[in-house]
Every structure is written in C-alpha cells, then in structure tokens.
C-alpha cells in the first residue's frame, strides 16, 4: 500500500499493515472466521483507506455465496482515522448495525463501528473479532 507521508504530521500514521478478523455470526457459515490482511494483498486501498468488501460476487473479500439477500457488491468495512467504518454500497436489502437495545439501524453512507459490534449484510450477521494496524 502507499504511505501518505503528508498526513503523518497531523497526529496519526497511516499504518504499514492492517489486518482484521471477521466472523460469520449467522447462516450456513455461522462461526467461520475470516482473517484478512493488507500484507497478503486482501482488500483494496483507496482514498477512504484500506477496505474489505462484502458481496455476492466471488471477487469480494467476504464472499456471501449463500445469501440471496446480498447484493453483488454490498458493503465495505474500512480503516481510517484509527477506527473502523462500515459503509453500505447502495445495496438493495441494506446493511444494518446492531444497537444496544437489541434494535438495528440501517446504515446509509458510512458509520463508525466498534470491535465486537454485530452488523448485518443482507441476511448474514458478522462481527469484527479483532483488527490490528501497525
């Protein structure tokens, strides 16, 4: 990935390597852990930072092959400004974030997401188990 030195004086470093562990929390792949890392060439780097892609097409980092409610390119999870963000990519059935009171909020645009917080892409629930930037 590219290092943007211009930003380093603003108080944070763009990390050299980012990795994230994402677990399926429902559906036929419930319990499966997917480990992705920028060093292994997973994800994409762009203006928004490093991002992993969720969708029904097989070139996504998280391939939702069994979820007919998922769009082809459904959502992205990216790391920027020292935190994780969840972004809906104009999906048909929406991306949702679980709230404390057991309700869920539909994501429009990008919203910050904490480690351990559940989110839903199509019908499938996920959770960020761990994320490391160094």
């Amino acid at each position: 990935m590219q290092i943007d030195l211009k930003n380093s004086h603003q108080g944070y470093f763009l990390p050299m390597s980012i990795s994230v562990d994402i677990m399926f929390m429902s559906g036929v792949e419930d319990g499966r852990l997917v480990s992705l890392s920028s060093e292994n060439g997973d994800g994409i780097s762009g203006d928004a930072g490093w991002a992993v892609r969720f969708g029904r097409k097989e070139d996504n980092d998280i391939w939702l092959r069994y979820d007919s409610f998922a769009s082809r390119y459904h959502a992205r999870l990216y790391f920027r400004g020292q935190r994780w963000w969840l972004e809906d990519c104009d999906s048909k059935n929406g991306t949702f974030l679980e709230l404390d009171d057991d309700d869920e909020a539909r994501v429009s645009g990008s919203i910050p997401i904490e480690l351990g917080q559940l989110f839903r892409v199509g019908r499938t629930w996920f959770r960020i188990q761990d994320g490391i930037a160094e």
Binding site: F24, M25, S26, G27, V28, E29, D30, G31, R32, R65, Y66, S68, D101, D102, R123
Partner: protein
Amino acid sequence: MSDVTLKDIQINARQESARMQHYFIGVEHLFIGMLKARESLAASIVERHGLTTDYVIDEIRRRTGKGTTQRMFAGAPYTPRADMVMGIANDLMLEHGLSEITEQELLEAILEENDSIPIRALHSLGITTDEARNVLLNPTPSTLPTPTSPTVQIEFGQQYSPDTPLRDEHYALLRRLFYGNGRIRIEAQLQGGYTSALILVVTAFGSDNLENAPVVVKIDKSDTILDEAQRYEQIIKESLPPLTARLEDFPVTIESSDLAGLKYTFVTDDSGMVRDMRAAAQDQSADAFSQWIYADLYQRFGKTWWMQRRPYRFQVWTEYDWLLPPLVTLEYGATDDPTALVIKDPVRRSRIKKADYGASIAIEEFSIHRINADRGSIVLSSGRGTEAAKRAYKIEVRGMNLEKDAHFRGELVERISGRLWKTRDEILQMAIAELAPDFDLTTPVIPGLVHGAYLPNPLILYDDLLDRYVNGSLSRIHGDLHLGNILVGHHQAAFLIDFAQARTGHTLFDWACLEVSLLDAYVMPAYGQDWDDAREAVHEINGSAGAAFTTIPDELKPIFSIRNIVRENLEQAGNWSEYFIALAFCALRASTWETMSAAGRRGAFYLSASAMGEVITTSRPSGQDTISSDGTEVDLPRNR
C-alpha cells in the same frame, strides 16, 4: 439427567431447518430441536423464567429470518459453529463416561460456546448464561416453595360478581400462579379494558393461614402476557413511582391452554380494598375525582412519563393508523397475476380504495404482526419505523394453511397474495351501521346538534387526516390508559397496571384514550343512549372547554381536567389540533368496539366527528385566529 437423545434433537432440528427453508443445521436449529422435545432441560430453562418454548422459538426465528425456496447446497450441512458445539459435547460425553451424547452434554456445550444465535436470543429475553447453567446444575426447581397442600383451594369473596364464570383453564392457571398457597380468595373481577384480558383481585393465604396482601392477577393470551412482562422489564420498571403496583415474579403458563397469567403486587395496607378508577369515580365527588386525575395520576406518573417529552414531528398515519381496522382483508391464494395490485412500502391507500371485491392483491415486505391459528389467518403490518408505525397498515390474510407453512410473529414476508375480501371502509361502515344511525353514513357531513349544523363524517374524512403532519412530542406512554387500567389504592394513590402496550409514542395519545374512556363510563350515562344524546354530550363538552370549572356540569368535570393536562403538554402552546388528531382517531376506534356500550360508541363517533371538525377548521389557511385556543367549537351555533 435428560432423557432426550441426540437423535430426537437432530430430527427436530432438521424439521425446523426445512420449515424455515434454511437447509443447514446451525446451533439455533439444535436449540429449537431441544425446546421441542418433551420435558427437555432447554424447555425447563425458559419455563423457569416464565416463558413458553413457543415464545422463545419465535424470538430465535425472528433473528434468523426465513430462507428462500432456492437451495444453494446439497444435504443439510452443519455450520462451523454447530460443528464446534458438537465437538465440545463429544468431549463432555467422554468426561461423563457415556457412550452417546445426550441433551445434557449438548446444552452444556451450547452454553460453554456462549456466542450463538439462541444464546443471544436468551440474553435479550433476560436469561443469562449463568442462570441457564444453574438449571443444568439443579434440574429440580428449588425456587418453588414446598406446597403446604396438594392443591390450592379457591374461594370467592363477597364483592365477587363476575360477568361470566371462570373456566377450567382459569382455575388451572390460578392454581399454578398460587402454587404453594393452601387457599386463595378471589375478591373481585375488575372491569377489563377492551381486550380479552381477565383481571382479578386475589388474596392468598400462607401456610399459617394468615392473609397476604391482595394482588392483582391478569390472565390473557400467553403471547400478550409474555410481551407485557418483557415490556415491564425493559421499559416500565425503572420509571414507576416508588409506591405503585409492580410485577411480581415471572409470568406463569400452563400446557393445557394458550393462556398465561401474571401478578401485580399491590402496595397498600391490607385494609385497603382494590378498586379501579371506574368504581372510584362513583364514590367521590366530581370535583374530587377531577382533581385526583390531575394531581394523583398525571403529576405522580408524569415526571418519568409524559413530562419527559421531546419534540416529534410525524405524519398522522405513523402514530394512528394502527388503531383502525385492517386496511384490507384478503382471501389467501397464491397468484402470479402480473396485474395484481401490489401493496408495499410506501403504501398508497388511494389505489386500494379503488380496488373491487375479488381483486388480486399482493403484499410485499410486510411483517407478521399476529397469527390467529384457530381462524387460519395471519395479520401483517408495515413492520418499519417507530413502534406505532411498525403496526400500521394491518392486512389480514384469511384461509391459510398454517399447519403446512411455518410462520412466526415478526417474520418478514417477502410476498403473499390473495383476493380482496373486505376493505377498511367497509368494516368501519358496518361497525357504525350496527348503531342504527339516524343519518347517512356515506355523505361527507353528518348532522350536528341543531337543524342546519353539520360536522364532518369521520368515516369519510379520516383517510385524508392520516396524511397530515403533526408538530407534536414524544414520550414514554402507557399505551392503553383507560379507567379499568388505573387502580386506586390506600390514600387514593393511583396505580397503573397493564403495560402490554407501553412504548415511546405520541405524548397526547394516553390522554385522548382516557377522555374516550371517561366519555363512555362517566359522561354518556348522564345523557342517555340515543344519537341525539351523543350529539348533545359532545356539544356540551366543546362548550365547557372555555368555561370556568365551577360552572360546568359535574359529569364533564373530569374531561375538563384532562384538557388541562393536555394544555400543559401541547408542543406548540394553543395549537390544539395536535390533541384533536389524537382524539379523533382514539374515538373513531372506540366507536367500532363491540365490547363498549352502544351509548359510549355513539358518543365516541360524535366526539371523533367534532375533533376532526376542530382539526380542519383550526388549520384553515385563511383563518385569522378566530378559533379560541381552548378548542371551543366555532362551526356550530352556540344557542339552540
């Protein structure tokens, strides 16, 4: 030890997976497989918390949703999590020196893994993993007291004079609720609301044969009771004044019927008899009663409820459509008719109004609100937005084979179709026609009190009002505030019961409901049964709004008190249309209630008409402020 074998659980799990069109086996299917097995440990966990297995199964199903008919893999594979759980169960089996996994090991494994969908469902229902584990350690319940006698003897007090006698299932439920007491005495049956609930005041006797303080027992359909207990825990408990009726213990269900019961402890000294507000209204002066509504009911509960309001601009249908009969009733029938009228979000009511009997209609992306297994029908609703909006646009689908298709409350239905059987307008027209109106129900206006005066016809105007915007406020509300749900204890303290409808909603909704209840129980008896009596009562309610308290008739004083409370809670001072919208829809609903007196229904219909009249006149664009802000009528002549 559990007698349930792994094989039984797996068979049930596969059936559940197929019915939900999942075609894989996850921990959720295994857990439901256990809940469905007879006398399972899993069932005892949920039952010890006063929940039924069906209730928990629906909660799990809501979390997974139903799959599609399209199968994407062969066989019925185990999910990675289910595989992991089976691995843990296998280790436990070896530790226990067994040759086969039983329910005990599987359940222990699910609790140890502690991250699956059924675990999340249990947590949201208030059952922690530790509590569940305790049931495994102590399969015999230790929480129940040792019964002092094998059965609970049931007696009746002198005040008890029921409308209908108790049924066997009521007796069975009462014995379960008072398990451990040798004897109970049913003191009174309180006037229920407009629901099917049975509300009793019961005194139990301890083993020493001493009287305990009386409690209020509510018996209703088990889904309703279990929802009420959940709402009490999540919404109500923290917001009650210290001395008030509280929910005691978990709800209780019985296997032999779909009824459940719960107990409200009644904090009063034991000389105080329990009365509801309907009875209390009769034995105090109108002045005292009116003062009581303001000071004891409103101010006592208001601090944590209505007074904590925040601005809320809403479209009327989002808060009030759910009060109305189903938008359409359909006769179920699968159809691929490309010309079918599709009802989906956002709902266009005008197109539905034009549909003819037998027209082909498809509903898309609605949620299941209720399942009437005995009638083979389901009720769908919008399922989106605020709590009231989720219940909006009810659609009943009849003639379904509920044995064949698995449906559950909260299920999101992608598409269901049928033929139009009845519209909302027809149901409303029929309900008012039962009251033998002395006017035409199909014209835009109906006669007012005097010759030549008219009010809008609620059956015509309601539909336009649903699309209006209201600048109102939002607060915690009771959701079903009527005279039967307000009990009066020692020192005239107000006790609210029945929290099945409690939610965050339009602040003025509760007061509109209570006004309609007062109209039925307090106002109409003083006027009479007929349509002319209804017109006169409503006319005088409006006329008294600007008057001095001492000059208005006694039977209208409590309503005057309600309007004072409303005045303090209007979002925009003096803008009464916020209240009249609420009143118009609450009164329209009451006018269709079969359980309300004919006099009350006629009064409610005219109250609705008059409230709608206020809404359209106060928002007339040309209007200089000629309308008095206290809601005095202007279109009707003052003298007669």
